[in-house]
């Protein structure tokens, strides 16, 4: 019985050995062997000093192997230290989930399951159970695939007993096109296929540790051998010039305090433009709903940056792109709203008390039809010359600002000054607006406050590298809770209004010869709307507490610390912002 505990080595041709891999033609003196075959022969020859070496045909795991590694666009599995491999056989295959160090976690058979499908389509099984929470609602995409030839060799002692096994793997790896290639996609064209160096590993037979060690030592001494420090997956990514986890929907534009404000803002906006462009393909191919979500976040951040930091940009650019990005935001809203409805549909249906979940089915079908229509409109716009012009011209304009060497006529604020000024302004505005809200204030006042909070959040995130990390985390944490509360309030309001609109549209569709709508469906929708009203009221009741925690007296020192940086600390008793109760 084999125990795991592989000792792996990579065998590369020694430096200076320039045998061409492509030259496999008959050179007249017999067919030239592949270098990997030479290396394997060298390894076997080294082992033959101590063991009888016997090829093992048909050993489990030997022969040809096809594997594809899967991850989400934003590398969720990789970031969680997991590796998901689809081992393809003639019919169906197996999904293997392991930790980054190779420790197996779960496996499940799959038949007729093509990857690049929303995670929800993964067939039930132990692998799905372990990853669904992590990856949902993202789709699994092929990252890299490998075709390899595996050969097995037994190492025998003087009694003819197998005391160790040697496995040799020669793999050709291919990058699959659709995963995040982030910034490198623009600059460097990466090799799409690569051959990995020959990998050999020794497996110990139980109770025969010493011979396995000896075999490993003999292998280590073969010229060109080095310990295999990387898994095949990581080695494949490296060989293909791919960097895992290179996509993030966050902002990190390497801003430093002394950077001229315009350069800092241009860097920031360029990064947002990268994120936006990276998601276009996934949106157009409708791979999963997160592409559109990340696209929209990049649009909103861009709009906020133009609005709040636009003072350092040329006025013509600021006003043109404020308009263009508003168009992009508005364009994507209907599809996103329908996505949100559909993503939460199962949960909504579960909460029904009076109506049955099946009553809502015509409503769901209606949402799907509507989304298809909205999506076509969105896709057409993203393929339009207007969209192409926005991204191209915006990039040119931003690059010009970022790379401008000559200082402008008036003195520019530094990134730190800009951060303190704009963040402070946003804080004060929230304190004033939020402090004025009473239980009788109209919903619109909370809606406005929510927008201000979003703007502040973006500003904080943009300038995160300049802030005190402890105060930053705390302030952002409180702000996030306030935003969630305002979000719940607002979303419930919007969805409730939407249900009314959608009910009208459903009826109109039925009247104009479309599919009919049962009364039960409308009643169930009414129940959903009632539930939304309840959660809206709950959010409203929670508002005062959340707001006080974020902007009340207890929060003042933290905010002062945040705004004081990078200058000298604020003196005690000198609030950075007015008391929220006295606007």
């Amino acid at each position: 019985m084999l125990t795991p505990g592989l000792r792996g080595y990579v065998l590369s041709p020694p430096v200076g050995d320039h045998k061409s891999t492509s030259n496999s033609k008959n050179t007249g003196k017999g067919t030239r062997k592949h270098p990997a075959a030479d290396l394997l022969s060298a390894a076997l020859a080294a082992l033959a000093d101590s063991f009888t070496v016997a090829a093992e045909r048909g050993a489990p795991g030997s022969g040809a192997r096809r594997r594809t590694w899967l991850d989400t666009f934003d590398w969720r599995l990789y970031r969680a230290g997991l590796v998901l491999e689809l081992e393809q056989a003639r019919r169906g295959g197996r999904l293997l989930l392991s930790q980054a160090d190779g420790t197996p976690r779960a496996e499940q058979p799959v038949t007729g399951w093509p990857p690049r499908r929303p995670a929800q389509d993964l067939p039930a099984g132990p692998v799905r159970d372990q990853i669904i929470g992590l990856i949902s609602p993202r789709a699994l995409l092929p990252v890299v695939s490998a075709v390899s030839t595996v050969s097995a060799t037994r190492l025998l002692n003087a009694d003819g007993k197998t005391v160790a096994r040697l496995t040799a793997e020669r793999a050709t790896v291919t990058a699959t096109e659709s995963t995040a290639t982030a910034t490198e996609s623009r600059a460097t064209a990466t090799e799409s296929t690569a051959e990995l160096p020959l990998r050999v590993s020794v497996a110990e037979v139980r109770g025969y540790l010493a011979p396995a060690r000896r075999a490993a030592a003999l292998l280590a001494a073969v010229p060109g051998a080095s310990p295999a420090s990387q898994s095949v997956f990581i080695a494949a990514l490296t060989a293909l010039g791919r960097h895992p986890a290179n996509y993030t929907n966050g902002v990190d534009a390497n801003i430093t305090a002394e950077l001229p404000g315009s350069v800092a803002v241009a860097r920031l906006l360029l990064q947002l433009l990268d994120t936006l462009e990276l998601n276009v393909d996934g949106v157009l191919r409708d791979i999963d709903t997160e592409f559109l979500h990340d696209f929209r976040v990049a649009v909103r951040r861009t709009r906020s940056a133009i609005k709040l930091l636009g003072e350092v940009l040329p006025a013509a650019d600021a006003s043109r792109y404020a308009r263009e990005f508003k168009w992009l935001g508005d364009l994507t809203t209907p599809t996103r709203d329908l996505d949100v409805h559909l993503l939460g549909f199962a949960a909504t249906a579960e909460h029904l008390v009076a109506a049955a979940p099946a009553d809502l089915e015509p409503f769901r079908a209606f949402l799907v039809r509507r989304r298809a229509r909205e999506f076509r409109r969105l896709a057409a716009a993203l393929r339009s010359p207007r969209f192409g012009a926005i991204t191209d011209d915006w990039r040119k304009a931003l690059l010009a600002i970022r790379d401008a060497s000559a200082p402008k006529k008036r003195r520019q604020p530094t990134a730190a000054e800009l951060a303190v000024r704009t963040t402070g302004r946003a804080f004060r505005r929230i304190a004033a607006q939020g402090g004025a809200i009473t239980p009788d204030s109209p919903p619109q006042s909370l809606h406005d406050l929510r927008k201000r909070c979003k703007e502040l959040r973006y500003l904080l995130e943009f300038f995160a590298p300049l802030h005190d990390p402890v105060a930053y985390r705390k302030v952002v944490g409180d702000l996030k809770q306030l935003q969630d509360c305002l979000g719940d309030f607002q979303d419930s309001q919007v969805q409730r209004e939407e249900i009314g609109t959608l009910a009208d549209a459903l009826l109109a569709e039925a009247l104009s010869g479309g599919p009919g709508v049962p009364a039960a469906t409308l009643l169930a929708m009414g129940e959903v709307a009632a539930r939304l009203a309840v959660s809206q009221a709950e959010a409203r009741a929670d508002f005062a507490r959340r707001f006080a925690r974020f902007a009340g007296p207890a929060a003042q020192p933290r905010i002062s610390t945040l705004l004081a940086k990078p200058g000298p600390p604020v003196r005690p008793g000198q609030p950075a912002m007015p008391d929220p109760k006295t606007p």
Binding site: D159, G160, K161, R206
Partner: protein, 248 residues
């Protein structure tokens, strides 16, 4: 974990041959299988090309200073491991106690921790009636008794059955099978036929005396592995499936 033991008071009746081949067939079925070569002569260990040596000897295993687990060796076959023989096993009786203070359940106790690792365990016992064999009978779920088709060996089976019947608590099931059957001998044919029909504990499957089985010591592998399509291999497969069907 199911424990099978091949046992007979007589030597040279095919205990080791049966243990080795049945253990191999169990492993080939995908069952995680361990064979413990309890015979100090180490024939089973030899057949798997494994040195008949255990660090610390039988003493360390019985006293518990070394675990069984640490002494296990992998065979050349998937799912099949071997706990080798050791020449010190000849003194195992002395280690298991004195006439006043006999330990009859020590082997059962030592095997217990292996339950998570193995589905089937085979014990290949030395010929004799001793404290070791008594321990084996207490540990085993099934006693597999090879019989040479003679009237005398039938008497031995009766004695063994009576002895086991006297146990308190769990008793192993006794399954006898004819071994080294010579088809040319009329007596062999008669006894084999009559007894397997008369006696419920005797299998229909019988192992013939074949030179290919003797070749195992030259090939150093189970005949079921090196000649899987042979008459000998077929006989062991019939025996194994009959033993398994009894268990269901």
């Amino acid at each position: 974990m199911k424990i099978y033991a091949t046992y007979n008071i007589k030597g040279g009746v095919g205990k080791t041959t049966a243990a080795v081949n049945l253990a191999y067939l169990s492993a080939a079925d995908g069952q995680r299988t361990l064979l413990w070569d309890l015979d100090p002569q180490g024939a089973a260990s030899f057949l798997f090309r494994i040195k008949p040596r255990v660090k610390g000897g039988g003493k360390a295993l019985i006293r518990g200073t070394k675990t069984l687990e640490g002494a296990i060796k992998g065979t050349d076959f998937d799912n099949l491991d071997l706990l080798p023989a050791d020449f010190t096993y000849r003194n195992m009786d002395l280690l298991l106690g004195t006439e006043q203070r006999k330990q009859t359940r020590k082997l059962a106790q030592l095997l217990r921790p292996l339950a998570a690792e193995y589905d089937n365990v085979f014990l290949d016992c030395p010929p004799s009636i001793s404290l070791v064999s008594e321990n084996v009978m207490h540990a085993a779920d099934v006693l597999l008794v090879p019989l040479i088709p003679t009237t005398l060996s039938v008497r031995t089976l009766d004695q063994l059955t009576d002895f086991v019947a006297g146990f308190d608590g769990d008793r192993p099931e006794v399954r006898a099978f004819f071994s080294m059957v010579d088809r040319r001998k009329k007596l062999h044919q008669e006894i084999t036929k009559d007894l397997s029909a008369e006696r419920s504990g005797v299998t229909v499957a019988a192992i013939p005396a074949l030179s290919l089985i003797e070749r195992m010591s030259v090939e150093r592998a189970p005949v079921t592995a090196f000649a899987p399509r042979s008459q000998a291999a077929r006989a062991f497969r019939s025996l194994w499936s009959e033993v398994l069907s009894d268990q269901e």
